[in-house]
């Protein structure tokens, strides 16, 4: 590895780069494993300086204020399914982290359930949407239940490019509603997703699946190509 790469990493970590230069390093780290490795090594090299700081007192309301602000992001942070996707990624790359994954799984499973047995025992869906691609071919069926969960039944084995993921969305039938993520689907399979609290599904409600970057759409709204979209109809 070149010395200049190390120099850049060191200067970034100790804070000698300006904001624009720092952002540039952060961007490059995603595509340049050597730079990323140099930054991670530099970070660990100096970390002890921070870890040996004597703890300082916080205001009594600090935690409450943080919690209040977490709520602000509730609309665009569909953290639950993304967390599950994240845990899966960790598991595939680093087997030693199964312990973490199990812990994450326990939390995530409260909100996201995957399993045919479970699906089989559910009541009939309130609404069904058939998602069509741009050529009008059915790609998947979404069953929507009253308790905010949906079951995705893929009809086609569409290819998901490496490093990308499928993301399932709906747009509630309320004025000014924006598409809301119901969760990520890393591969084509039947699965059940429980999204955030939403108004009950209704006739004509939009559902769609898009291809997004790993970890889900960065904006919290659909950005990638649409695999299929369709509108909810009452299941008879």
């Amino acid at each position: 590895m070149s010395a200049s790469l190390h120099e850049l990493a060191d200067e970034y970590v100790i804070g000698l780069l300006d904001e624009a230069e720092s952002r540039d390093v952060e961007r490059r780290m995603r595509d340049e494993p050597e730079l990323e490795a140099a930054v991670l090594a530099a970070r660990e090299r100096f970390l002890e300086i921070d870890l040996t700081e004597k703890p300082a007192g916080l205001s009594d309301s600090a935690w409450t204020q943080i919690v209040d602000r977490l709520g602000e992001s509730a609309g665009d942070d569909t953290v639950v399914p993304i967390g599950q996707a994240r845990a899966k990624r960790a598991a595939s790359g680093v087997p030693a982290y199964w312990k973490h994954v199990a812990q994450a799984g326990m939390a995530a499973c409260l909100l996201l359930v995957v399993g045919l047995g479970w699906i089989a025992s559910r009541p009939a869906p309130q609404f069904v949407a058939v998602l069509l691609d741009s050529g009008g071919e059915p790609q998947a069926v979404i069953e929507a239940y009253a308790d905010d969960h949906v079951v995705v039944l893929p009809l086609e084995n569409f290819a998901v490019p490496e490093g990308r993921t499928l993301q399932v969305w709906t747009k509630p039938n309320t004025p000014d509603a924006q598409p809301v993520s119901l969760g990520l689907m890393e591969q084509i399979r039947r699965l059940s997703l429980t999204g955030p609290d939403l108004p009950p599904p209704s006739q004509g409600q939009l559902y769609e699946i898009t291809i997004e970057q790993e970890g889900g759409s960065p904006t919290g709204l659909p950005t990638g190509p649409i695999v299929g979209k369709g509108f909810a109809k009452t299941a008879i």
């Binding site: 010395a3 190390h6 120099e7 060191d10 200067e11 100790i14 804070g15 000698l16 300006d18 904001e19 990323e36 991670l40 090594a41 530099a42 970070r43 660990e44 090299r45 100096f46 970390l47 002890e48 300086i49 921070d50 870890l51 040996t52 700081e53 004597k54 703890p55 300082a56 916080l58 600090a62 935690w63 204020q65 943080i66 919690v67 602000r69 977490l70 992001s73 942070d77 953290v79 639950v80 993304i82 967390g83 599950q84 996707a85 994240r86 845990a87 990624r89 960790a90 790359g93 680093v94 030693a96 982290y97 973490h100 994954v101 812990q103 994450a104 939390a107 995530a108 909100l111 970890g215």
Partner: protein, 192 residues
């Protein structure tokens, strides 16, 4: 090598990586555990850089919001979880420091500034003393000539720029840049 060191033992066996993963899964109790374990020390880091109580408090709150939102980006095996957490805190404090400098550009009413400057210089020396003698960082920083060591610490611990360090150490900017580059390279080799 430091990257092999286990994560979080210093804080009573807390599994920071596991907590981050639970944060990514939307578990607020995990964020709260991180807050209880790390917020006071993170505030000390922010206070060291920003010097003002109120600013440090804000920086810690911002850091926890960012930790919550970005926890899914933490990758086990790519550096320690503590390294990730403190990088978030440092980056927030540094950005606040930079925008403060832009906006206030040396407010004259800050009479304490000179005194703080002295304490900052003194503290840069103290940092070495509190590092673990059995670890490489202390040994390797100790190998540097005092003024050069101070230059490195003023940057890392106080977020000072090349120009500010040159001012503090009353040396030409070019000299400081060369010192820093050389010192960082010495530290890299020494700590391998």
């Amino acid at each position: 090598m430091s990257t092999h060191k286990s994560d979080g033992n210093a804080a009573g066996g807390i599994d920071h990586g596991g907590l981050l993963i639970r944060c990514a899964a939307g578990d607020r109790t995990a964020l709260q555990s991180l807050f209880e374990a790390e917020a006071p020390r993170m505030k000390a880091v922010a206070l060291r850089m920003l010097r003002r109580e109120e600013a440090a408090e804000e920086a810690v709150q911002d850091a926890f919001i960012r930790i919550w939102r970005k926890a899914h980006q933490y990758e086990p095996g790519r550096g320690t979880a503590l390294g990730w957490i403190y990088t978030v805190q440092r980056s927030i404090a540094l950005n606040m420091l930079r925008s403060e400098k832009r906006e206030i550009s040396q407010a004259p009413e800050d009479i304490d500034a000179a005194r703080e400057l002295e304490s900052e210089m003194q503290s840069a020396d103290d940092i070495l003393g509190r590092l673990d003698e059995s670890k490489r960082l202390r040994f390797c920083l100790g190998q540097l000539e005092p003024a050069r060591r101070k230059a490195v610490l003023l940057a890392y611990a106080y977020g000072l720029s090349h120009g500010e360090i040159a001012g503090r150490l009353a040396s030409p900017l070019g000299t400081i840049k060369a010192w820093l580059r050389r010192s960082l390279s010495v530290l890299r080799e020494c700590m391998q």
